[in-house]
Amino acid sequence: MKSKLAIAAMLAAGLALPASAQDKIKLVDVIELSGAGATAGTNFKNGADLAVADINAKGGILGKQVEIVHYDSQTNPGNTRAAVQRGIDEGAYAILGPVFSGPIAASMQISQRAETAQIVAGEAAGFTKQGNPYIFRTSLSQAAAMPKIAKYLKDTVKAGSVAVVWVNNDFGKGGRDAILPELEKAGIKVAVDVATEQGQADFAADAIKVKNSNADAVFVYLNEEESARFLRAAKQQGITKPMIGETTLLGAKVLELAGDAANGVRGHVGLSTDAPIPALQEFGKRYREKYGFASDHNGIKGYMAVHMVKWATEKQKKIDRKGLADTLRGATIKASEEPGILMDTVIEQNGDLDRESFLAEVIDGKQVINTTLPRIKP
């Protein structure tokens, strides 16, 4: 009984939160630092840290220093909800993250109830369609990216049939569900639809399946290391058809891991440190110097998320939590006004983004951008 009391006392002490300091702007980053999303989450965290360091070095936002704390979501909805609630209780000015759509869906009502902006890294189409005015993306959604891929497959690759290889998690399934109707609209046949598991031991069977389908092109939508391993397995099985991807497949990590198996890979890139935009390249360089590896698109998203907060706060000229979300909604952030946003970004009313994107090809282990695509609604 005594122990129970002691436990209760300990609990109360452990879970009661210190009053937050008012002289700093507090950002709470709830992000996947363990579990299936750890790689993406770590990139996002690093990007956000880099942004905070940059902003503080230049005197902060409206003269106040920015403080950022990172809470691990464990890629688990229940834990994410706890962490977002904790951030809100601690008086977070804005919530950053998470990346995976399950954790986003489990936590977005919390920030909505607290009228706090939540700037996430998710690309799945669903969560901006629920009428939550406090959710914001940091990248194009799959619903925006996939039509570009379908158009590319039809007009540039001239593929009549495509093998679709996807990872069976919210990222891959979301992408697959978004591309299939686009392919149908473009009159492209799906030769084979291959689901793979995250962390799967070997991709030989999948590569054989793709090879036997005799598709004109292969659309690969997997997480980074699985992308690399699939490319290698495809090379071993002698697949010579064009490999088409969206952002991840042409990411720096995939190119590093896949080696020459990545040569010839083509596709659409939403965010890339190799894009022909000096600010992005500069960011990529500094990220690599600080963390020792190349940033993927999630690192860029983390950097942008913090700068979205900075831009909106300076725009409204006050630290107003609800006003932050109101300012972001429907805003156009120009890189000329706020260099930290890296590229011109239009935020739609539902939190979706519209911005330029790129078509790229991998040549000699390097991502080469050959076309810059305009915004969807110029």
Partner: protein, 292 residues
Amino acid sequence: MAEFTAYLIAGIATGAIYALAAIGFTLVWQTSQTINFAQGEFVMLPAVLVLLAVKLFGAPLWLGALIGIFAFILIFGAGFKLVVVDPMIRHGVLPLAIATMALSIIMKEGAKDGFSAEAQNFPSFVPTSTIEVFGAAISLQHLTIIACAFAVIGALQWFVGGTRLGRQMQATAQNPTVARILGIPVERMVLLTFVINAALAVVASVLISPIYLAKFSNGEVIGLFAFIAAIVGGFNQVRGALVGGLVVGVIDSLAAAYISSSYRLAVPLVLLVVIILLKPEGLMGRKEERRV
């Protein structure tokens, strides 16, 4: 037919990976009734340690490999046995199994925080080229893994059956009390199996990581499949791990090809249940009499 052969060969190659990881399961189970839920992490970590040694000390690869491997065998062979297993073994299987679960979290998180959250390339000492077997492409890396899995099982069988030390080890596994009466240093024998287990994990890690990449989370999948393979093959037979691994690998590959790729994981598990109901001791396992 050529298609089927291709799937079969891909399955055997993957199965050899599972088998290599599963051997350790059966080995430590036999001598000390330890279920090591960190087995997957045991296979993940050596490659990470090698890369870490290279990164930290700027050592050349061979030296990094030596440091990493030596440190691993010392800590996770002998250290694991002395620090974790010894104090807990007499309290039954479960607390120890749970402790290995906690150990797996430590290893996984340690690799992530101490090394990298991202996958890294691990150099292969086998050329990455492929050859044609019955019209199907298979890489030399995979062939090496298959050969090594067989070689390791063969060597273990020979060691256990053909050497004095090995027979002492077997006696320890079968009946520690009698072995002790016969003057066999039981404790040292058990320690030896743990060191062998760690060494096998190193072999598996070095062979698998060039294909599977070195990443902190790799142990999860490898550990699960190795566990399934060990059950299917028979926990109390080292060669059961080989058979179990190959069966699971081939079934997995064929399931992905011919059944449904989103349910491919289910097929080996259904097989597992069927085997448990029909031949509970596993495909290659011995029946054990009920102890009262």
